[in-house]
Amino acid sequence: MIQPGPRPARSKSPLSSAVAIVAWFTYGFLILPSLIIIPISFGDKDELIFPPESFSLYLYRKYFTESNWIDATLESLKVAVLSTGLSLLLGVSVAYALSRLEFRGKKVLTLFVLSPMFVPSIVLALALYLYLGSARLTGTTLGMTVSHTIVTMPFVVVTALAGLRHIDRNLEIAATVMGAGRMMVLRTVTLPLLRPTILVGGLFAFLMSFDEVVVSYFISNVRQQTLPVKMYSSIHWEISPVLAAISSLLTLLSLAICLATIALRKRSA
């Protein structure tokens, strides 16, 4: 819809005003958690007070000096980086095959590759718990990385398929007619053009893995906890004020990644 001027005339009708009021109420509800978390995180006591009486970095300092929080964060970071890499490798290559190669049973294969998306995470968590448990892989970085890759890869595939659909097939045909073989076309034309999409998919996969909690909660153990698992038990058992600092940092990370993907999408359009 093209509306000249910033304030369309139709916003004056009673229907539009009513819609705007409800809409703004919902916008408020949507960002409310982020809005209260951040002030609380600057409190200076070991209890949650809103609004805090004075501002300090006490909770942040506590987070960065308590080794079990930092260990969990590093574990999450490690798993997120590894599973993002694996997701991209497997997801982009299968998306390329699905969109550019001709073979039988493509529909079934597409459904299979995307199917982890349709399985509720608690079901996936239980299945992996039973399976990795029997293979003695619960509580290991390998088990965690593989599990996260199953969760994130379908989303990388969906993103990559959309990106590949956007690439003008004539560009690849042009390169082929000029004498480039499949691998050379892939390396010199398709992949460079797919780069923004791959970055978006990668950021998405990273954040999903970094925030993943249900599957991780089932397959982790006391020795090896990711940050979300530790946060989950902390909220469940005793609410530690450090959570406010961690939550603020996570919100900041989400915001950064959210804005980065918007910018990347705009650039590739």
Partner: protein, 363 residues
């Protein structure tokens, strides 16, 4: 249609042998036999869905034919992958690589062929000079206008001397003026460089302007193949007559009168024609509007009387629709003159014609 001998006498570059393409029950190409000669500008002309683009893609190797063979310079390339065929291709949407500079775009095929840096730099500079865009080497495709991008796309083909350049409606995205300018430019490049071009278009005027030969396609088959002049003045079928230019098509019948075969048309023309179909067979005749003349007084004896029904002024020429009675109407095209203002609807006129401009259309 049977094939016709090549218009130009050079050697053969490309030959189709009964090439057929079926999609399920739909026949996109129905047994195409066609030869393209070296140095020739051959245009595949036809309405959308006629099979011209499918045929081009079969040559490019992006569509595999259901049956038939394809020969390039005497080599059977039916099963040779696209990248090994040594062709060039120009697309309607230019298909320049947006992530590369113009230089890298043009150099692409040379890099594939592993040429040295010096050679690449020299050849790219040369070819950019040929398309009169020597200063854009470091720019990106999106910084150029549509016409400039298409010239770069052509340069990208010329630079590696492919045996055959395929052009898929390359001027379809440009406005009229630029299109006409580039038509002449491509024609000039063709004449100067001696490249072989297979051109696809649905624009009959473009086909007539540019081609050595035109291959008119309809419903997956070759309707007529010949020089533009032949197609225009000697259409072999109703479809050809109707597709190319304006035409008057009138039903006719023949009769043998004392050893002479006479043709009578529904428009009232009568003339002798020894190769007309025998009596009893139904056929039509075609005459171009510009071959008819308009008379107000002193008309020739056999001129057809009628009444002006419609006047279409289009600048340099004016087309008049003359009602002859019996629902028959003829179009007459003539150069516009200042006196035309005197012609009005309902004016009684007569239409002059000559038997030698008449083409018999069978079927």
């Amino acid at each position: 249609m049977a094939h016709q001998p090549a218009a130009t006498g050079h050697g053969e570059i490309l030959r189709f042998e009964a090439v057929t393409k079926r999609y399920g029950g739909v026949v996109a190409l129905a047994g195409i036999d066609l030869t393209v000669n070296k140095g020739e500008f051959l245009t595949l002309l036809g309405p959308s869905g006629s099979g011209k683009t499918t045929l081009l893609n079969v040559i490019a190797g992006t569509i595999a034919p259901s049956s038939g063979r394809l020969w390039l310079k005497g080599r059977d390339i039916t099963d040779v992958p696209s990248s090994q065929r040594g062709l060039g291709m120009v697309f309607q949407n230019y298909a320049l690589f947006p992530h590369m500079t113009i230089f890298e775009n043009v150099a692409f095929a040379l890099r594939v062929r592993r040429m040295s840096q010096d050679q690449i730099a020299r050849k790219v500079a040369e070819v950019l000079e040929i398309v009169s865009l020597p200063h854009v080497a470091q720019r990106r495709p999106r910084e150029l206008s549509g016409g400039q991008q298409q010239r770069i796309a052509i340069a990208r083909c010329l630079v590696y001397n492919p045996d055959l350049i395929l052009m898929d409606e390359p001027l379809g995205a440009l406005d009229k003026k630029l299109r006409e300018q580039l038509q002449l430019e491509i024609k000039r490049l063709h004449a100067n460089l001696g490249v072989t071009i297979l051109y696809v278009t649905h624009d009959q005027e473009e086909a007539l302007v540019m081609s050595d030969r035109v291959c008119l396609m309809n419903a997956g088959q070759i309707e007529q193949l010949g020089r533009p002049h032949e197609l225009y003045f000697r259409p072999a079928t109703m479809f050809s007559a109707d597709f190319l230019g304006e035409s008057n098509i009138v039903p006719a019948a023949s009769r043998d009168e004392g050893g002479v075969r006479m043709v009578a048309t529904a428009a009232g023309m009568r003339f002798a024609c020894h190769d007309a179909p025998p009596p009893g067979e139904s056929f039509s005749i075609m005459i171009r509007p510009e071959n008819l003349t308009l008379h107000r007084a002193e008309a020739p004896a056999d001129a057809l009387p009628g009444v002006v029904d419609e006047i279409i002024f289009s600048g340099g020429t004016t087309r008049l629709r003359i009602a002859l009675g019996d629902g028959i109407r003829l179009s007459v095209t003539r150069l516009t003159s200042k006196d035309d203002r005197e012609i009005d609807r309902g004016l009684a006129v007569s239409v002059g014609w000559s038997p030698r401009d008449i083409v018999i259309l069978r079927g």
